[in-house]
């Protein structure tokens, strides 16, 4: 293993040898034992790991978040969606996007302003085109 490969290993996986891929660990440990430059890179990687760990540490969310998640389940019961259902679900979102794109183009060109109804339609608040004035 070259010193450049060792450096790449440290950047990819950090300084903890347990996280190094098994296929590269032996060669990396051998280089670390014999190379001053490798030890310097390793020491710097350890400091970087510590800084990243401190910078990404997060306080415990506590039980409130779990309670909030579980309380929100009532609004969305599990639903089996079969193959065609998935297709229709995709088609529905595509149709909504096309509808919105058409609205934006139409709005740019001019004409009566039905923006509130169209927004409500795409948001699911209206279900019938006929509901629009």
């Amino acid at each position: 293993m070259t010193i450049e490969e060792f450096e790449t290993l440290l950047l990819a996986h950090g300084a903890n040898p347990r996280h190094w891929p098994a296929g590269r660990r032996t060669a990396a440990e051998a280089l670390l034992a014999e190379s001053e430059a490798a030890r310097a890179l390793f020491d710097e990687a350890e400091r970087l790991d510590a800084a990243i760990a401190a910078g990404t540490a997060a306080p415990a969310a506590g039980g409130a978040l779990a309670a909030r998640i579980l309380a929100g389940l009532d609004a969305a019961p599990p639903e089996r969606v079969f193959g065609l259902g998935r297709l229709f679900a995709w088609s529905g979102s595509t149709a909504a996007a096309a509808l919105m794109a058409g609205f934006l183009v139409g709005h740019a060109i001019g004409g009566p302003d039905h923006s509130a109804n169209l927004l409500a339609l795409t948001a699911g608040e209206l279900t019938e085109i006929e509901a629009m004035p």
Binding site: A54, G55, A57, A58, P59, G72, A76
Partner: protein
Amino acid sequence: MEGRPDVDSEDDDTLMSRAAAGDRRAFALLVTRHAQRVRAVALRFSGNAADADDVTQQAFLAAWREAANWQRGRARFGTWIYRVAVNRCIDLSRRRRVRSWLSLDAVAEPADEAPDAADRAVQRSELEAVRRDILALPEKQRAALLLAVQAEKGTAEIGAALGVSAGAAEQLLVRARRTLRERARERMQDGPVGARPAADTDSGGADRRRAAGAKRAEERR
């Protein structure tokens, strides 16, 4: 004694099967197992506690909805849930950026939630500098780093969560850590954090973005 199966020892796939049948206790266990780390990734991705809570809730709501269609072995729940959460983080980040460009709202400063242990480990200013550097990483690099550090995922799982190969995930980690290392080296050379102007380097657009953010903050003052 015959009784209710011990769901605590069941794997995620089995818990999803139970959740599909409406078993909230099984789903609650999935939440207990994964929500804390999912939120930690979302928090450090977004820098905002409220966003992290929203993203975590949305990800688990998506899991609840998906439970009936979950197929054992098709994906690992512990990877899938991060994929959903990271995608929502990225969507949120992009919407915020558009709103910021359009001056529809101010760019919020990251929430400051350092646990005491972290405060003791690193000086306060260095800790804040590291957090800013992480927030300034490109989205996929940031997500890859957080999945590695916070979620303790290997490159294969990171790749699966981000929709890239394991090799590409490794490259994302290399670029992320290289940028953070360069920033740390600059701080070592330049002395106290915050006492120097942002420099423009070849290692990425982070400094340019940071300088632009500082300029916007200055304009708001």
